[in-house]
Structures are given as C-alpha cells and as structure tokens.
Symmetry: C2
Subunit: 225 residues, 2 copies
C-alpha cells in the first residue's frame, strides 16, 4: 500500500464532544490530505487525572462557554449535537472497552471502529441515549452494521483482561505524549512529530504538513451550513 | 462615522501571548471585516482567580504543550515570539495600569493604546525585557511614539486611584461575561452577541459575523510564513 509518510493518530473518548468534531473532520480530510489516519480509542478520565488536569466542565464559567462554543461549532462543522439536560459525566469505560475490542478484532482497516464510534457519539451527544449498558452497546453495534454474532463476540471480548489492559496501555501512550485531554492528535510527517490538542488546530496542522485547510467541509468549501 | 454594527471587544493582558496573536489578527482584520474594534486592557490574574480557574502553565503537560503550540502558531501568524527562559509570572499590573491610563487619556481613537500594547508584548515575549519598572514603561512608551512629557503624565496617572479602579472595573466587566482567561473576545453583531476564548476561533467568529476568514494574513492570503 502506498504510504504518504503522513501518519495522524487521533486519541479520543466518546465522552468528549470536541473529539467528535475532530474525528469527523479528520475522516473528511483523510483522502484530501492523503493521511494514514489511526484511531486510538482511549479513556478520558485516565488522561485528565493522569496528567493532573481538571475536567473543564467543573468550572462554571468554562462550562457556560463550552455550551455556547459547541452550539456554534457543531453547526459550523455540520455535526449536529445537543447538550444533554443531564450533564453528569456518565462513565464511558464500557463503551471505550467495546471500541477497543472491536479495534483489536478488526484486522484490516478500521471502518467498523469508525462506524461504531460515530454511533456511540450520536447516542451520547445527539439522541441522549444510554451507552453504559450492554444492551445499548449492542444497539449501537447493530446500527453500525455489525452482525448480532459479532456484537456478542465483541461484547464478551470487551470484558476480558487483555482488552482492559489494551485500553489502559493506549491511554498510557497518550500520557507519554504529555496529553492532558481529548481530542489529542499526534501528527508525524517525514520524521517530524507534532501534537495538537482540541478541534481548533486543523489550519495549523495543515500548515505543519504542507497541506491546505479548506474549512470543515473540504468537499464543498464554499458551503455554509 | 459610519457604523457597520459589528462591535468586537478584545479583553487582554500583555501577560498573555495568545492575546498578542488575537490582537494582531484583529488589527489586521479591522478594515477587512469592517469591525468596530475596542481594546479592553484588563488584568489576567483577576479573571483567572475571579472565575475559579487555574493558570494553564501550572500543569506540566499543558505547559509543554503551550510552548510547542506557541512556537508553531507564532510562526504561522507571523508574530515572532520566543519563550522566555524564566517563566515565572512577572506581574503585569503596572503595565496594564499604564495601558489603562493611556486608554483613558486617548480621547479619539486608540492608535496609541495599540502601539504601546504591542511594544509591551514585544518586550515581554520577544526581547524578554522588563515591563514592571517605570523606566521600562517609559522606554516602551517612547518607542511607541509618545513624547517624553506624555509618558511622564501617563505614568503618573497610572498610579492614581481612578485608573486602578478603571482596570478593576474592566476586569470585572470581563468576569460578567463569564470570562475565565485571555484573550476573551465579545462579538456583537446586529443585536446578537457571542463570546470567543483564545486565538483559535477566528474562522468561527467570521462565520458568526457573516464574514470570511482568509487565514492570519488577510492581505496576503496565499503567503506561507
């Protein structure tokens, strides 16, 4: 397979709405920038607490800002999402183990990881459905196109020690890059590496890679959502 | 004077390098977007602690990121700056009182506030000169084009109670907008208002105002620095 030499690793957790924006933009630019995009499902509380950071939502002013910011950003990025009325941070541990198990199982490519992650974000940030229970993960998996048998296998695998360890090790990998929150994007181009935090550095990332940023809709750059 | 109905208030402190980026970009876009740009010199520790936030630089991982981020951003934005070797947060209280006094004194326009603020940022973030002492502020004022007499007057005024109160009240104004750090940009367009934090929301701000973002160099959009 032809390699462009541009490897972009996206560390994310479906708990993070900004990660969803970054995920969709990188999926749209994958062929435009000819990048080797690697999904790195990880666990947000692991990097927040592991880096000595504090969840942004704990500060009332920041929380007010995030709600306002996400409203406009999601419209501009064309990724409809709505603030859940209940902002308590429901655990995404089971969901991220489920995605990790799928990533381990999916030998070729990452189409299924992409689809399942998107379904989980949709449930959490658009339709406000549960993603903590096995029945919810099953529903997301089926909607993403997995067969009932595969969902069952992935669910079972997601509870195994190797998968628990894998999620921990990917989270640790992020911490080794000095990650303190998601999305965290590690960009490697011709031997140079640069990390980018958040969903607001794509223009800078393009500059770093010698590519062009055409806004969040590269295939219809003049469109306004 | 013709008003476009687009008022953009920039709350800043020369302690903040990201504010410098926002300041230069907004100055470049002032005529391009036809905005009524208002400088709001304020005091960073006042909004950090007043909002219950923590200085980003206190977290080692965030600090590492900020250094890397600013290096690339300052190159891309064409605002050369270099991390001082001594990162201890020297107080900018005198400097911001000096700018506040100048803003109060400058009845028409804000050309001098713009020039003096830029000189102070240059000293702090490019040449790493002191900005805490009267002699340093005098030097910055003279370099910005103030006469020796005016500098003397502004220095004296900057120590007066009304100026101390004015800096406090602008900082308080920022807090009332739920500000938690700088740059903090309040954008008012045809009765709608939106706040933007950081120097990475200009594309979104343009979308909000119905304007076009052409990168950090609107007058030479194809240039790469």
């Amino acid at each position: 397979m032809f390699s462009s030499g541009k490897v972009v690793q996206l560390f994310y957790d479906v708990a993070s709405p900004y990660s969803w924006l970054a995920f969709e933009v990188l999926c749209r630019y994958r062929n435009v920038w000819n990048i080797d995009l690697k999904f790195k499902p990880a666990f947000l509380p692991g990097v927040i607490y592991g880096s000595g950071n504090q969840p942004a939502g704990m500060n009332p002013s920041k929380l007010t800002y995030i709600v306002s910011d996400l409203t406009l950003l999601s419209e501009y990025f064309g990724v409809p999402m709505f603030q859940p009325s209940d902002l308590s941070d429901k655990d995404t541990l089971s969901a991220m183990r489920f995605v990790t198990a799928l990533a381990e199982k999916e030998k070729e490519g990452d189409m299924l990881v992409e689809r399942v992650s998107r379904e989980l974000w949709k449930r959490k940030w658009r339709t406000h459905q549960d993603i903590t229970q096995p029945a919810s993960l099953t529903e997301a998996g089926l909607k993403a196109g997995l067969s009932a048998n595969v969902v069952k296998e992935i669910l079972s695998l997601s509870k195994s020690q190797p998968i628990k360890d894998k999620l921990k090790s990917v989270t640790q990998e992020a911490l080794e890059y000095k990650c303190f929150g998601f999305p965290f994007i590690v960009c490697q181009v011709n031997g140079k590496a640069k990390v980018f935090f958040g969903s607001d550095r794509f223009e800078l990332m393009a500059y770093f890679m010698g590519e062009k940023w055409m806004g969040p809709h590269p295939n219809k750059p003049t469109a306004h959502m």
